[in-house]
């Protein structure tokens, strides 16, 4: 298919449509409002539904209600809006409904700023909401991958019957890049008749379905949590995605970085190569499940002296990197959080300082 030049936010909206998601509920917030603006035009063409909710809290539950009927559904927001959805995400996970959330991160905490950031890593991967649930989180590094991951998100949400999140940043949402759209996703959500409240007549059944997260009996609630845990375990076995860059040969330093930040790191790595300084990169594409083993293996390579997690945050993913490296190498953090993205030059000088010390 020919490439088209698209803004990340619009491409995400188009990707949803091509993934067969015709139901979109959202509340405007910079830097992702273009998704809603695009879909407000696009969905009517395919008899889809767009509702601008009164708040992100309400949107979270519109998503829940729609997902509970077994329909593909998506919302998009940015950091503060996602915080307002955390109760809903916990409910959706608890009620085991498939739903796709997109967070185009901006600077925080609080109102913070509107420029790109990666400050919501913890919130996304450790669950912003209460209780024992995890969210499958994919982090694209550009518009093309944003499209691919968005289209993947729906079948994954249906496979695990839970929330899946695309974690992008303001740059990915605002930037235009050429995109080639994958094949449309034509398979409809399966087996929803087993659990969805899609109406007994619809599924020709006399048994009611319940979409709920309440289990007053402690034994039942524990079993329910064990079922969820088993799903997260399976994600760790089947869904880990990552990319390695310049890790075939020897390298003195291993960078772990994701999303927009990882692109800058690659530029830095290429520049350092010019000066004969070899640095490797592992880019997690799934933040949960986190590529623990890949990071460990890359870190313990003979030649590797330091591991550094480079983030557009004050150091969040670095905790998962530490866990993965198991003390076999010293693990550090480098980054900024405010909207400015560390430049290749800044990264290079940090890496050199590591090697000096």
């Amino acid at each position: 298919m020919a490439k088209v030049l698209m803004k990340g936010n619009e491409a995400i909206g188009e990707a949803a449509v091509r993934a067969g998601c015709l139901n979109y509920f959202a509340y405007p917030i910079t830097p992702q409002s273009e998704v809603a603006e695009y879909l407000a035009k696009r969905l009517p063409e395919v008899n889809g539904t767009f509702v601008q909710g009164e708040s992100e809290v309400a949107v979270g539950y519109m998503i829940f209600g729609a997902a509970g009927c077994g329909e593909r559904v998506m919302t998009t927001s940015s950091s503060p809006g996602i915080s307002l959805m955390s109760e809903a995400i916990s409910y959706i996970a608890g009620a085991r409904c498939p739903a796709v959330f997109v967070n185009i991160m901006r600077g925080g905490p609080g109102l913070g700023g509107i420029l790109p950031s990666q400050g919501d890593y913890f919130q996304a991967t450790k669950g912003g909401g209460h209780g024992d649930y995890r969210v499958l989180v994919m982090a694209p590094d550009g518009v093309q991958e944003a499209v691919e991951m968005t289209m993947k998100a729906f079948p994954l949400a249906e496979k695990y019957r839970g929330p899946v999140m695309i974690l992008g940043d303001g740059l990915i949402g605002q930037m235009m890049e050429p995109v080639a759209f994958p094949e449309d996703l034509t398979v409809a959500p399966s087996n929803k008749d087993d659990w969805a409240t899609n109406g007994m007549d619809t599924r020709k059944s006399t048994e009611k379905n319940l979409v709920k997260s309440l289990f007053l009996d402690p034994k039942q609630l524990n079993d329910h949590n064990l079922t969820l845990k088993a799903g997260y375990q399976r994600m760790k076995e089947e869904e880990v995605m990552f990319e390695r860059y310049n890790t075939d040969g020897d390298y003195k330093v291993l960078i772990v970085s994701y999303g927009t930040m990882s692109r800058v790191c690659k530029t830095a790595i290429d520049m350092m190569k010019q000066d004969g300084l070899e640095v490797g990169l592992v880019r997690p594409k799934t933040l949960f499940p986190f590529p623990e083993k890949v990071v460990f293996d890359a870190a313990v390579k003979e030649s590797c002296q330091h591991v550094v997690s480079i983030e557009m945050s004050m150091g969040q993913m670095v905790e998962d990197v530490e866990r993965s490296v198991k003390g076999r190498r010293d693990v550090g953090w480098y980054g900024q959080c405010g909207g400015d993205i560390p430049s290749p030059e800044e990264i290079i000088s940090h890496i050199k300082s590591l090697l000096k010390s």
């Binding site: 910079t30 303001g170 740059l171 605002q174 890049e177 800058v264 430049s343 290749p344």
Partner: protein, 179 residues
């Protein structure tokens, strides 16, 4: 080989559009490209700018602090960004709104009275087209014919605007040659 150009001016001068046209042409040319706008409330009534990065391999960091070229459509933009342009880069100065020059001797200054030219052609709105074609001609960043096509496509939906913008496009080339 990677080249970057910063387009800058007031909101409403069509900055983002001229940048998009350039990016689009580059894509048609089979190049890798990223179009990176500034966004947010600080733009309100203020300066709008946008970077286009074009290269033969996947664009790494799309955030450019020292672009190869600059298209400055108003004075604050020129003053803000001219110092960052790489040596030998093209600096387009919209002389209709900018009485001064870049003050640099290591760049190629391209003086384009974009607004006047556009007004002559019938509408100040197409000043950005004058500018982008002039810039492309001078910088050789993209193939001129592909850029012309991109302009046509852009206005396909408002066909009656095409002739005007084609005139503007050629005017830009003409200015660039004369310069």
């Amino acid at each position: 080989m990677q080249k970057e150009v910063m387009f800058a001016g007031f909101g409403g001068q069509g900055i983002l559009l001229s940048a998009k046209l350039l990016a689009h042409a580059a894509m048609k040319q089979g190049l890798e490209v990223a179009w990176v706008p500034s966004y947010g409330p600080e733009m309100r009534g203020g300066t709008a700018y946008c970077t286009v990065v074009v290269g033969d391999k996947r664009i790494g960091s799309p955030i450019i602090k020292t672009p190869s070229h600059l298209v400055a459509m108003n004075r604050p933009s020129l003053e803000k960004f001219a110092p960052d342009v790489q040596p030998n880069g093209v600096v387009l100065i919209n002389s209709s709104l900018i009485p001064v020059q870049s003050g640099r001797d290591d760049v190629v200054e391209l003086i384009v009275p974009a607004n006047e030219a556009a007004i002559e052609l019938g509408s100040v709105k197409c000043a950005n087209i004058v500018a982008v074609s002039a810039f492309a001609a001078k910088s050789k960043m993209v193939d001129i014919d592909l850029l012309r096509e991109s302009v046509k496509e852009q206005f396909a939906s408002k066909a009656k605007l095409i002739p005007l913008n084609m005139k503007a496009f050629d005017k830009g080339l003409e200015i660039a040659e004369k310069a």
